[in-house]
Symmetry: C2
Subunit: 257 residues, 2 copies
């Protein structure tokens, strides 16, 4: 018998030692041949940044049958580019990113390295899924989510995804056995109320730490926030076409000449 | 007479000394009170990255009547957040970013610090415009574009923009007097064919430089690339809702349970 195992690329933005990616790797190893290419340290908030001023240095950490692991000094998107264009034997059948420590619902997707890596895979026509859990803690409990992570990955491996679409999967931080199911959702309208913590250093110079409060706006039915608030796993289909198509007619009248 | 001057925030991703932002500043100073908050060095390819591991240090460079200039050690998005939440006397009436050295058409928008700063302004409900010229050179000629930059900024100051929509303005690199007009467009399908330049350092360790070739796919009518190829200024309305709305029904059938 000669069964072709799926080739799965795993990455994240919390860094290669984060418990979230270790949990994701264990699930993916039950589904196929796994190549991990992940940042050597936390890279949260890096969005779709790429590294152009210093060279990228992948470091091979593990090379076993059906399992390879690299860390790099790059961003999550650098990791995906390196994996696909330089490190992997062929284009992967699936890309998974995460499991992020903290949700990437609503506007958080815009800042997220986890989701940027997912979108980069989508741009390369690889079925791609980003997973995030609603708990920022390093000791967050990923166990309740793992059967769903496996189910969603299996479905995507079997059925693919629409052209130009990847998945933003957000998982509620609830006890084992209390996840109520899966809902397909749209991006919510939660926002950050930001402030800067203004300080003065010992040499009298001003500096600022970014800080803020996230307001989920959980009430709108059909959004990612609504699903999480109601203990469902949220799956939002995501595109890299940023055109505001609904505004094309208005702007044509306003600007074209 | 007591005319209220518009308050205009100017930023970019090529750094505060780039000729592109200096040209943009000169145009904006004819339209209102200007505050510049821009990176102290080139920050291309930083996308929507924010800085959380080191503090932000704004440095006041110029403080004149109706004109203030700061540089910061942050990304373009950091600059916008600092400007709005810490440095400016009130919320600006307009945010402009650029003029970028190089277009941000098609998929380039995903990597662009210029457009991330613009989108950040949009998220804060500020009318926001990113400008990019189709020439990467430091000595690119911005003069032919400036009457159009002024016209577009005036129109946005006067008429505003639809809720949740900002503008990605790409300008063809053509001689003075040969820009044919303005077209409202959708994001094109141009892509990068990437490769990595693989080298070995004097200590025998592998390293990689990201490199690549951009293929504009200029033929599809109605896209940003088409407008540029035909010597029109392209205005693409941009959203930060990444939901692939057209895929919601398909995925609901595939995943919901």
């Amino acid at each position: 018998m000669n069964i072709h195992k799926p080739l799965i690329l795993v990455t994240n933005d919390d860094g290669i030692t984060a418990p979230g990616i270790r949990a994701l790797i264990e699930v993916m190893r039950t589904l196929g041949e796994v190549v991990v290419v992940a940042p050597d340290q936390g890279r949260s908030g890096q969005a779709h940044a790429i590294t152009v001023n210093v060279p990228l240095r992948p470091k091979l950490l593990v090379a076993e049958k059906d399992y390879t692991e690299y860390q790099t000094n790059g961003t999550p998107v650098d990791c995906v580019k390196l994996a696909i264009k330089a490190l992997m034997p062929r284009k992967p059948d699936l890309l998974v990113s995460g499991i992020n420590h903290g949700t990437n619902s609503s506007i958080n997707i815009v800042y997220s390295g986890t989701m940027a890596a997912t979108i980069e895979g989508c741009m390369e026509a690889i079925p791609s899924i980003g997973f995030s859990l609603g708990n920022f803690a390093v000791d967050a409990d990923f166990a309740p989510s793992l059967p769903f992570v496996k189910l969603i990955a299996e479905k995507v491996l079997a059925g693919g995804l629409p052209h130009g679409v990847c998945l933003n999967v957000n998982i509620p931080d609830v006890k084992e056995g209390t996840i109520r199911g899966i809902k397909t959702t749209r991006q919510g309208t939660g926002t950050w109320t930001e402030e800067f913590d203004h300080r003065v250093d010992p040499r009298g110079r001003d500096y600022y730490w970014i800080t803020g409060q996230y307001n989920g706006n959980g009430s709108a039915a059909g959004t990612d926030e609504w699903a999480l608030a109601n203990h469902y796993i949220s799956i939002t289909p995501v595109t890299f076409d940023l055109t505001a198509h609904q505004a094309l007619d208005t702007l044509t009248k306003q600007f074209d000449r």
